[in-house]
């Protein structure tokens, strides 16, 4: 049974703005976003295309920085970090699951899962065993040496999930993780994410799918770069 901490915020976003330059025009992707995420929560971020969902996810994951405002993840202030410190932050705190899996096509499932483990400097034998265990955990023990091109979409997303949790990050960020999958496979993937959440990891999911959002502890709805709803599901 999972537990959500009542007093420990793993994510604190205060007045986040993100403005892009498109030629001479300023595009405001986020306009003063404020929210908190507690440890162990599953939070779904929803909203129409272009409302700033992915931008917000990228800022939480340290792939992007806000133009204005503060974002603290695991008590680390990200808004002023340089690129190499953000890389270190991602390596130690965040697991990413992308819509189109983003596996390296020349590497086997086992090698793809080992990537973040190598980045953390884990010795060869240990990382091999860990990667094997995580692939077993996502039901791919018979696909260890297959390359992404030899796997189905659902299997590739399982590999991506195994890679995301390989270094046991406190937060897993999933951007439309079921968007490219059929309903049944999508449900299986969500089942996996819930299992991960039950082990204590906080999960933020960007989705268009109401059914998926309904399984979250909380839903944050965005429109035109602003939060219009922040409610428990």
């Amino acid at each position: 049974m999972k537990s959500i901490s009542n007093d420990l915020n793993v994510i604190e976003a205060d007045d986040i703005w993100k403005v892009y330059k498109r030629g001479k025009t300023d595009v405001k992707a986020l306009r003063g976003v404020n929210f908190r995420v507690r440890e162990g929560e599953i939070v779904a971020i929803m909203g129409p295309s272009g409302c700033g969902k992915t931008t917000l996810l990228n800022i939480i994951g340290g792939l992007d920085t806000p133009t204005k405002g503060n974002i603290r993840v695991n008590e680390i202030e990200l808004s002023n970090l340089g690129e190499s410190k953000l890389t270190k932050f991602r390596r130690e705190n965040i697991g990413f699951v992308f819509q189109f899996y983003n596996l390296l096509p020349n590497l086997t499932a086992l090698e793809n899962v080992q990537l973040p483990l190598i980045a953390q400097g884990i010795p060869k034998k240990e990382r091999f065993e860990k990667a094997k265990d995580f692939l077993q955990a996502v039901g791919l023990s018979d696909r260890l040496y297959h390359k992404p091109g030899e796997l189905s979409g659902g299997e590739q997303q399982r590999v991506a999930i195994a890679r995301a949790i390989a270094v046991q990050p406190s937060i897993v960020l999933a951007d439309e993780p079921t968007g490219d999958l059929d309903t049944k496979t999508g449900e299986e993937i969500m089942g996996l994410l819930r299992k991960i959440n039950e082990m204590g990891q906080t999960i933020i999911i960007v989705t268009h799918d109401d059914m998926i959002a309904a399984t979250a502890d909380r839903i944050i709805k965005l429109r035109d770069g602003k939060i219009i709803e922040n409610s428990s599901s």
């Binding site: 792939l63 690129e83 890389t87 390596r91 983003n102 596996l103 020349n106 973040p116 190598i118 060869k124």
Partner: protein, 387 residues
Amino acid sequence: MKLGFLFISIRDLKSKKLRTVITIVGIAGIITSYLVMMAAANTMHDLVDASFSAYEYRLFVLKRGKEDPMVGQLPEWYVDKIREKVNPDYIDGVSGFLWWMVDNSTKDEDDAEFQTIRGLQVESYKSVIEKYEMIAGEELSDAQEDRNYCMIGINIAEKFGKTVGDKITLQNHAFTIKGIFSTSTMIDSEIWLTMRDAQNLVGKLHKVSIIIVKVKEQDYVDEIRKQIEDNLRGVAVFEADEYMEANAEALDSFRGVIFAISMIALFAAVLGMMNTMTMTLRERRHDIAVMKAVGVSNKSVALIYSVEALLLGFLGGIVGVILGFLMLNVFGVSNIELAGYLISVDLTYQLAFESVIISTILGLIGGFYPIAKISRQRALDILQKFG
């Protein structure tokens, strides 16, 4: 920077076999040309060094203002004049030589090749040239009896497949080969005739190109030089190393041209490498973005692709050296004719090693800019641009 990522470099090279092979072959071709050119330049340099080192304690007497023995001549009687005027206790010998280039008319006129001949004063030449050995036959020893005979260097014997007793035709005049000599210097590409035969053949009667004086000790060199200059008009006297310096400009310009051509070839290799790495990284940018997103550092990304560039350069170098070796030793391109001299080009281990190192460095240089550029980009920028 994590070395555990290096398997990705090899995996990438394997995944694009055709491009990898084409790049390696391209680099190898350039390295082969570099190798052969530098081997020729080095061999030439070593031969010239060896040729002049054989003339220790020798003074060269040449026509002042025309110090190239192929251009200026002195009267033959200057040789006797030197014998007469210099202190005989200070010298071991004096002999005159006539150097010239004649065409080898055994072939059709269009294919005629030029050979360097040397006219010898047979009674005295051995007193100033010592470092040679007879491989076969006998030396020219009698100015009258040995008319229409010649001695040939080992390179000439090998090039034309000639041996003692065979005839060799020079400007439609046949000479019988009396002996074959070896000096392990450029002289091995010469044909030696009696002085009279040489003078008749090139139309320089009673002329010599150079007079060589062998001095007993270094301490006597300056005095002998002064005695020659005081007694003979219109001569320039050089020690062997001075003469080499005077000719160094020509040798340097030859090496300079070879060096410039080599540098252009190597520059082309760098551009080729840069192009390959740009293409590779363009294809891999999505992978690079993903690696960065999951926490792989810029340094590790740069390392992965630098090793890929390094491997391409290294393998290109190895294949280039093998091709160079095959060209020189199996396909028989090792004998290069230059200024009438047949140069046998040697591929040394040092040059082969240097070529592999240069090729590896070229790989790194060629890869540096595209790798540095992409490894500095943010993961998100790459993902947003290229999906």
